[in-house]
Symmetry: C2
């Protein structure tokens, strides 16, 4: 629908005819406010207290991961924990750094989605790198398996134990070590919470180069260990480019002291890269040096309604030309996504656009000059309307509206989970066939008779970061069933491999995708990965049962 | 000097008082042309034909590297080349892919600076990845040492042999394999010349994410193998972020097929990172997938005269705030640099500013809207003049002037070499002490009585990429002498280490810096590097005598 009316509840983009009447450079979209009545639920899940997980788990005891996945067997070469071991650990980290309490342990044994449940009997919370070094050396010498854990916000079961691995939490390592306001180099402990760092930098006029829904809980060390992507990657690039240096404790206790704050350093193999995205299988990241960009003075957010995925692509192509250096997000979701948000979350109480559309695009710009950015965005949006590439849209007029528009996009995962059980896939797919994956999956589930209002699978939704080619495919079901799982897998992986995609775009491998990595990596690549793992962790104590397929 | 006059020969920046008279948004700096009469010499050295090196070398036989550095001894575990080996190589690459002609070989045995001279008897020019695989497998099985070579434009002797290593050139692998005009992913052979790729992308509205003086000769495979930095790193980041995938042949002939075109892929260790900057010591890069950014529609270049390095820093800090997302280069050079350019190159025939200044800053902006960029740049420059941070400046008014301003900056290395011999250092140094290195070195050389018009050392110049903290310190002498070398080294490395810098910012280690890497990397880092080298290249055939210190 191409509307020229300015609605009372929200601002409509002026259509082609109306736009032509406007004076050049007049701020086309700033007359009327977008009046969302609802409070923001941006990153709602992170406000869930840790205790919630534990109490839920106690009330409705989740099955152990080891029982859910019977192919997993405890590696009997790993030693079982003894009182002697405990005494040693207490001597290293003190009593306050050791937890054996069963209820406390649940918080660390169960992931936040409550999909995985480990059986660890011990959490250690070192507060210095030297303590981590002593712990790992002891574990390695004694073949005690460990799982490093940050904020426990992972989606693939990589941060929780499977059997009785000792959990080493970075929770007690949360200091900023230094910040250089000229270069933007931030050095901090691995246990710093992403949002805390971002707030710290905001005061200095800088911003963290990454942002994600879990930022209120996740640790920067975990972000680096999982090579987290998120919402700013389109603009600031991946952690492989923005991380300047790392401090890492190797399984034998060796401390790799590479906390460089230099932007350029060509003195030898770039070892830190091995640990970025290694998910705790090669060592524990204890310190991070990262290059923070300047915080943009002007930020705009627009939400657009689009009638086809071809038009979503057309809008994306144009944004690269016309928004170019100020484009900071190009996010996408389908109608099924917003339907779930409307159904389950306050963020979806009021539909942001007057009528429903098959597709939605959320665009964010960030720049140093508000007038320039407004002019670029307005010109871009007018062009889209004139050429009938988008049919409707709103532009946030203040911070609240900005947050409300983001809340819809960021609320999708939580809304999906309200259905009961979610099959979550995180795929890199070439943009031209990006949405075909969702359509093919819907058709398949329908054909098999499991998708519908009275069926187990209620909705198949697609959303994600078009700018990065990253599709989040969520299949919301009433409950988990092997029947549904077997319809989805390995079909979803085969489909992705056929289109030269990646079966894990940003979530990582963890426990979930370890058996499937061959869909995205060749035997020669996997063989070299295994050699690296065996060289750096010969006893295999680091985060076992995960990441690489078992031999 | 703060001038408000518009000079005939070049445009002067309007000073504070004049600026205040101007209308808002009037294009302050576009009245008069900058009239450089000289042809551009940008990247002049790359127009030197390969034959020049050979004929010079023949006329004035350069000493062999092995004789210059007597500590280097041929590893006797390496086999010497036999007729049988030659027959095998001919069967793999054909007669045209094999060169044994002595004069031909000089071109590959001697680096472009004519600082290093190897003694190889054989150059192989495979044209497919499979041929590279067969060659390496054979060399590994037979313990024949090899040195991979791209465009032979390196500055640290990393790409030329020391003894009789077989040279494997990527010259015959120069095809673009694919380009995706939606994502900007370019896939090409390792032997593609950087400038050829950039011209290819220009036709599609894209740009290579790196640019450097040697772009007319250097190969993209060599760029990746040395983690080349250059002129666009400030804007587009390092190759660790922009390289999407690599195809690499390992010493045992295994082909690592990881030519992904995906922006995000978290399926296992990011193996390609190991090879970025490994300088041919772990394998040969045969194919590169790289993310090309959109080419900017508007580009501006300004050259500023500044009276102190403190003011250079102040101008840099402001540029991050005010030019922000459109800043694409912030280069710096001192008066000694431009004096050499004036003395030796046509690019320096006319001083770009009316009077000499102690420091010069070259600023480039790249954006999608010329009016916006002009406004940002003008406002930034006016502020610098008003606050007396810069004293004078010019802004390029057309492509020729754009090239002429860059020609001064890019001509500095060539101008230095005209003195006779250059001691070149490429350092990462924290910006606050960036120029102190140059001053301390000058004072030291003066104190030792070797610097002056009638002395061996004629000039100590500092230039480089302020935006990246990368100083190029060039010490121009009449001829090489051990006396001077011993005054400079290890002082320069110790100074750098003391200030937590890097002894190789972007040039790499090669032969030159292998013995000095401990100034920038700890024993634990070096030990792990050695383990990785030994694992991937157990026979040590890949580019021996270089990169890592000998044990």
């Amino acid at each position: 629908m191409l509307s020229t009316a300015v609605a009372a509840r929200h601002l409509r983009l002026a259509g082609a005819r109306a736009a032509s009447k406007l004076q050049p450079r007049a701020p086309l979209l700033s007359h009327t406010a977008v009046a969302f009545a609802t409070p923001t639920v941006r990153n709602a899940f992170r406000s869930l207290p840790r205790a919630t997980f534990a109490s839920v788990a106690s009330a409705d005891k989740k099955a152990f991961t080891a029982d859910q996945y019977p192919y997993l067997k405890r590696d009997q070469s790993f030693k079982k924990l003894t009182d002697g071991d405990l005494d040693y650990f207490k001597s290293v980290v003190g009593l306050s750094g050791v937890s054996q309490d069963e209820e406390d342990l649940e918080v660390f044994n169960i992931d936040w989605m409550q999909k995985y449940r480990g059986q660890s009997k011990l959490v250690l919370k070192p507060s210095t790198t030297e303590q981590v070094s002593k712990i790992l050396k002891y574990c390695n010498d004694n073949k005690l398996a460990v799982v490093p854990q940050g904020g426990n916000t992972g989606l693939v079961g990589g941060g929780v134990p499977v059997f009785d691995e000792i959990i080493i939490s970075t929770a007690n390592m949360s200091s900023v070590r230094s910040f250089d306001p000229v270069s933007g180099a931030l050095v901090c402990d691995a246990g710093c919470i992403l949002e805390v760092l971002d707030n710290y930098l905001a005061e200095q006029g800088y911003i963290m180069p990454l942002d994600l829904g879990a930022k209120g809980s996740c640790h920067i060390g975990g972000n680096v260990a999982t090579n987290a992507g998120g919402l700013r990657l389109l603009r600031y690039g991946s952690l492989h480019g923005t991380v300047l240096g790392l401090e890492v404790v190797m399984p034998d206790g060796t401390i790799l002291d590479n906390l460089s704050t230099l932007r350029k350093d060509n003195t030898g193999y770039d070892l830190k890269q091995l640990f970025i995205g290694s998910e705790g299988t090669l060592g524990i990241i204890t310190g991070v040096s990262i290059l923070a960009p300047k915080r943009s003075k002007a930020v705009n957010v627009a939400l657009l309604g689009v009638s086809s995925f071809d038009q979503v692509q057309a809008a994306f192509k144009r944004s690269k030309d016309e928004l170019s250096e100020i484009l900071s997000a190009f996010e996408f979701f389908d109608r099924a996504s917003i339907d779930l948000v409307k159904q389950h979350l306050v963020a979806g109480k009021n539909d942001p656009l007057e009528s429903p559309h098959p597709f939605y695009v959320l665009i964010e710009t960030s720049g140093s000059n508000k007038d320039h950015d407004d002019e670029k965005l307005n010109s871009y949006l007018e062009g889209l309307l004139t050429d009938d590439i988008v049919q409707d849209g709103v532009v946030a007029q203040d911070t609240t509206q900005f947050k409300n528009l983001w809340a819809i996009r960021e609320g999708i995962p939580e809304a999906c989970s309200k259905t009961g059980s979610v099959y979550k896939y995180d795929l890199s797919i070439p943009v031209p066939v990006f949405y075909q994956m969702v359509e093919d999956m819907r058709a398949r589930l329908e054909k098999e008779g499991v998708l519908g209002e009275d069926k187990n699978v209620r909705s198949v939704v697609g959303f994600g970061h078009i700018g990065d080619g990253n599709l989040h495919l969520n299949i919301a079901a009433k409950s988990y069933s092997d029947e549904v799982a077997n319809i989805i897998e390995p079909y979803v992986f085969e489909w992705t491999a056929k289109h030269a995609g990646s079966i894990s775009s940003e979530h990582g491998l963890g426990l979930f995708k370890a058996p499937h990595v061959h869909y995205s990596k060749s035997p020669s690549m996997l063989a070299l990965m295994r050699r690296i793992k065996d060289m750096l962790d010969p006893n295999g104590i680091m985060n076992p049962y995960k990441y690489l397929p078992t031999e």
